[in-house]
């Protein structure tokens, strides 16, 4: 069975289950089910926002309210049929989200949460004060939903009407999570800076997901209005937002299936406990029931912070057979020759042909300066880097090498100076701008996407080399492109000799291996300028040899490489030119031979072996003299 068909099984199962439930369950249970599905729609949207965009909405009820009120006005006042009014109501919610998100999603942190909290209050006040919207009593007397010649006014019928809506809503959301957009957003959650450096425009994607999530809430509002046949300010209440939030948290943060299951669980707890508690504790009053409800939720959150989704994955891990690949031997032995052959093949897949001719200037740095308060981290650096060369940036710790990288790639704005990439100014722009121009990087401190596998990390780098947008991903019209992403990402993984680890969660890998994944990820972008921040750190001698070999091959395909590295021997063997920074200033620039013999560089950075050995001997002698009288007590 093809994996694509296998991916549809859960949805078919869900549809069958919902239909059987509607037909078989008692009336009052189906009634609870209707609410679970309505709120579930909003929860699916919120789970996308929280899981993919990493943002919380504390006022999701506002979007439900906008959808519900719009629908109510259109149907009862403008006499539009359901099918014409519903899309307008959904779009109204999305427009409100767009207006809120446009300024706020540029900011990092919890601004969106606060703003949506405020939005919830504003919408609540507006509908309460507005005469046209019925003030506190709201709009009532909506006609029962009739559609396709049928009227849906019993719980069972309404549930059956909601079933395809939920199944399709789930299907679209799950597809989105697995699509190019979903992958990029989840990468942003793990490491925004790394995702940006791979060309992901985080703001644009977050905004789209926020608007989409409001659309789901708006649709929930439409069905809410028709089911209750009355819309009043209670729909805007904070409790409703909290309830939706609870559904997502309980179900498992950011998992779409979790949101639906969370919706059922919260609704069942909410309604079911109220009926159950008086039976268990005779004479229990409302407050006692609410306390019981709260206690259960607190317990769940303490015992299962990952929600029901976590419980499910634990059960599945228990049931699954032990993976033979995970037992004993870590990976297959592969000879160096085989590896190099694989690399050649991979570079064949990845090599771009449109690199600028060797010798043309591709990166022009002028007067680049960074000051933090009184400290000058980088002082007036000017450097011209031409296509097809390997330039190494060396210098003592804290000399400003990484700061220079950060400004070239847009991670930090410079205090002064300019960085021109292929003639275009990138200083002060976001990293995805430089990435778009073909410059990407690795990081000194790991910036991997921890929630996914090795291959998953590398696939993110194909973002710029693929096009499928949010909608195409949602309806699975991106299959051919996804297959291409898979092939190219795999090629980059092979190139770094990580083939055997491709499907391992990256968090399980040793530190140095994770660094190699970063290099694979950068290669997968098919950059014209590759910036590597200490690529050799944490690698063993043999691994360093392979990496040097690989970088020469990459250079041969026309890629320009700038690297910061402390392994002087490797640097000198690899680089065409070496730039030495000390205390923020460029103190030497030239061929490896020129630089290694520069007395300034030796004093500031390299040191001499004789020096080090002399220190050891001196220290040892001093210590022996100091501790001689004490020696006997040991």
């Amino acid at each position: 069975m093809s994996p694509m068909i296998r991916r549809q099984i859960p949805f078919v199962a869900l549809a069958i289950f919902l239909v059987v439930f509607a037909l078989g369950a008692p009336q009052n249970v189906v009634d609870i089910g209707v609410y679970a599905l309505i709120y579930g729609l909003a929860a699916i949207g919120l789970s996308l926002l929280m899981g993919l965009a990493g943002q919380v909405s504390l006022g999701h009820a506002a979007f439900i309210a906008v959808g519900a009120y719009t629908q109510a006005v259109l149907v009862s006042k403008a006499n539009l049929p359901f099918i014409a009014a519903a899309p307008i109501a959904v779009i109204a919610s999305m427009i409100v989200a767009l207006i809120v998100g446009l300024p706020l999603l540029r900011l990092r942190g919890h601004f969106l949460a606060l703003a949506t909290l405020g939005l919830g209050i504003i919408i609540g006040v507006v509908v309460t004060e507005s005469e046209a919207l019925g003030s506190t009593s709201g709009l009532y007397g909506l006609p029962s939903l009739s559609f396709g010649g049928r009227t849906y006014d019993t719980a069972q019928e309404y549930f059956l009407l909601l079933t395809p809506v939920i199944v399709i809503g789930m299907w679209l959301a799950v597809n989105l999570v697995k699509s190019r957009t979903g992958r990029a957003l989840s990468a942003v959650n793990d490491s925004e800076v790394a995702a940006e450096c791979l060309g992901v425009d985080t703001f644009a994607l977050r905004l789209r997901v926020f608007v989409l999530s409001a659309g789901y809430a708006g649709l929930a509002g439409v069905f809410y209005a028709h089911w209750l046949t009355i819309v009043n300010p209670s729909v805007t209440h904070f409790e409703v937002s909290v309830k939706i939030l609870l559904m997502v948290v309980l179900g498992g943060l950011g998992t779409v299936w979790g949101a639906l299951i969370g919706a059922v669980a919260v609704q069942a707890l909410d309604e079911g406990l109220r009926a159950l508690l008086p039976v268990i504790i005779p004479g229990a009053k409302g407050e006692v029931q609410l306390i019981g409800f709260g206690v259960i939720l607190v317990l769940v959150i303490i015992l299962m912070p990952g929600g029901l989704a976590q419980l499910w994955s634990r059960v599945r891990a228990r049931l699954s057979k032990p993976d033979p690949a995970k037992h004993g031997v870590h990976e297959h032995e592969i000879s160096q020759d085989e590896q190099r052959e694989l690399l050649d093949k991979s570079l064949g897949i990845l090599a771009r042909t449109d690199h600028e001719p060797v010798g043309t200037s591709i990166l022009k740095i002028e007067g680049l300066t960074k000051r933090y308060g009184g400290v000058t981290a980088l002082d007036n650096l000017s450097l011209d880097i031409t296509a097809g060369e390997i330039v190494a940036l060396i210098g003592p710790n804290g000399a400003g090498k990484t700061t220079a990288f950060n400004m070239i790639t847009g991670v930090l704005p410079p205090t002064e100076g300019s960085v021109k990439l292929h003639g275009k100014e990138v200083a002060g722009q976001l990293p995805h701008v430089a990435a778009n121009l073909g410059a990407t990087r690795t990081f000194q401190n790991l910036q991997t996407f921890k929630s996914t596998t090795v291959l998953g990390n590398v696939k993110v780098a194909r973002h710029l080399r693929s096009k499928a947008g949010l909608l195409r991903g949602m309806v699975m019209a991106d299959r051919a492109e996804e297959r291409h992403i898979e092939t190219t990402a795999q090629a980059a993984v092979d190139a770094m000799a990580l083939t055997a680890l491709a499907d391992h969660p990256i968090a399980d890998l040793a530190f140095g291996k994770q660094r190699q994944v970063e290099v694979a990820r950068a290669l997968a972008l098919e950059p014209s300028l590759l910036l590597l921040d200490e690529p050799m750190a944490g690698l063993s001698g043999a691994e360093r040899d392979s990496l040097s070999w690989l970088l020469r091959k990459v250079k041969a395909t026309g890629v320009t490489i700038v690297l910061v590295e402390h392994d002087v021997a490797a640097v000198m063997a690899l680089a065409d030119r070496v730039a030495v920074l000390d205390d923020g200033k460029l103190i030497s620039l030239g061929t490896p031979a020129e630089v290694t013999n520069d007395p300034v560089v030796i004093a500031a950075y390299l040191g001499t072996d004789d020096e080090a050995e002399a220190t050891v001997e001196k220290a040892a002698a001093e210590y022996a003299a100091d501790s001689a009288p004490e020696g006997g007590t040991r």
């Binding site: 032990p322 993976d323 995970k326 037992h327 004993g328 031997v329 870590h330 990976e331 210098g395 003592p396 710790n397 804290g398 000194q444 401190n445 399980d508 890998l509 040793a510 530190f511 140095g512 291996k513 190699q516 200490e534 050799m536 750190a537 944490g538 690698l539 063993s540 001698g541 043999a542 691994e543 360093r544 040899d545 040097s548 070999w549 402390h566 392994d567 002087v568 021997a569 490797a570 063997a573 690899l574 950075y605 390299l606 040191g607 072996d609 020096e611 080090a612 220190t615 050891v616 220290a619 040892a620 210590y623 022996a624 501790s627 001689a628 004490e630 020696g631 007590t633 040991r634």
Partner: protein, 263 residues
């Protein structure tokens, strides 16, 4: 001084696993007082896992770990630290928002009831005089090399008899690597047992008395630096440096003299 009697480290038949992924398949090693044992090998070979098992951060599935004559296999990390085994982790992990001074105070936490703080502090700072000038700076503001020095000084505040270090040279300038290795030499001469995991083979070989090469959870070669450096097979398969990078072993180095007098 509150020096404890010298005690070595003995690991026998160590097996360890993360979940169901077995990473160590029977590791045997000893580090005597006044000795530096370097553990080298490719990434994922299990070097870090050995250190984590020794310091109680990873529960071994099988095997024993002894500190002197005490079996510490089943002890928790805090208890092991208080018995005199200090772990300097990968990436230093200093407390970035605390001052250098406070980092040192926390390093001495397991010894808080024993007194002698001032002496241990003076001794740790004597090893890295540079930290004296930065004593009131936030640790996060130090350069990479200074952070490594602080991580080691912090470890020494627990007055250990065994110190284990995970890649102290990571990301450091050659000059600083020299200083760090020098410090290790001094600690060895003071009678500490030093277990060093290091990718910078050249630097490690200079300071180590013995070297073990690990591959996929097993020890595959063992000897003095000179023996291993002159073994073509080991060099080609594990140490590198054959063609380009001389992070590997460029030439056999002279064997170190044994533990210094006085220990």
């Amino acid at each position: 001084m509150t020096a404890r009697p010298p005690a070595g480290l003995t690991v026998t038949g160590l097996h360890a696993a993360y979940d169901r992924l077995q990473v160590l398949h029977g590791i045997d090693l000893t580090v005597a007082p006044g000795e530096v044992l370097a553990l080298v090998g490719a990434n994922g070979a299990g070097k870090t896992s050995v250190l984590r098992s020794v310091s109680g951060l990873l529960k071994p599935a099988k095997g024993t770990v002894k500190l002197g004559d005490t079996d510490i296999t089943s002890f928790g990390a805090e208890k092991i630290a208080s018995l005199g085994l200090a772990h300097v982790p990968e990436n230093r992990l200093v407390f970035p928002t605390l001052t250098v001074e406070d980092n040192l105070v926390l390093g001495g936490y397991v010894r808080r009831k024993d007194g002698g703080f001032a002496e241990r502090r003076a001794e740790a700072l004597a090893l890295f005089p540079r930290l004296n000038d930065r004593i009131l700076l936030a640790a996060g503001a130090l350069s990479g090399g200074e952070q490594q020095m602080l991580a080691m000084a912090r470890a020494l505040m627990s007055d250990p008899s065994v110190i284990i270090l995970d890649e102290p040279s990571l990301g450091l300038a050659p000059k600083v690597v020299g200083e760090i290795m020098t410090a290790l030499g001094i600690l060895r001469n003071k009678g500490l047992a030093v277990l060093l995991v290091e990718q910078n083979v050249r630097a490690a070989f200079k300071v180590a008395d013995r070297v073990m090469v690990m591959d996929r959870g097993r020890v595959v070669a063992e000897g003095t630096p000179a023996e291993l450096a002159s073994d073509e097979r080991v060099r080609a398969a594990y140490l590198g440096g054959s063609s380009t990078s001389s992070s590997g072993v460029a030439a056999p180095v002279a064997p170190k003299a044994g533990p210094a007098a006085g220990s």
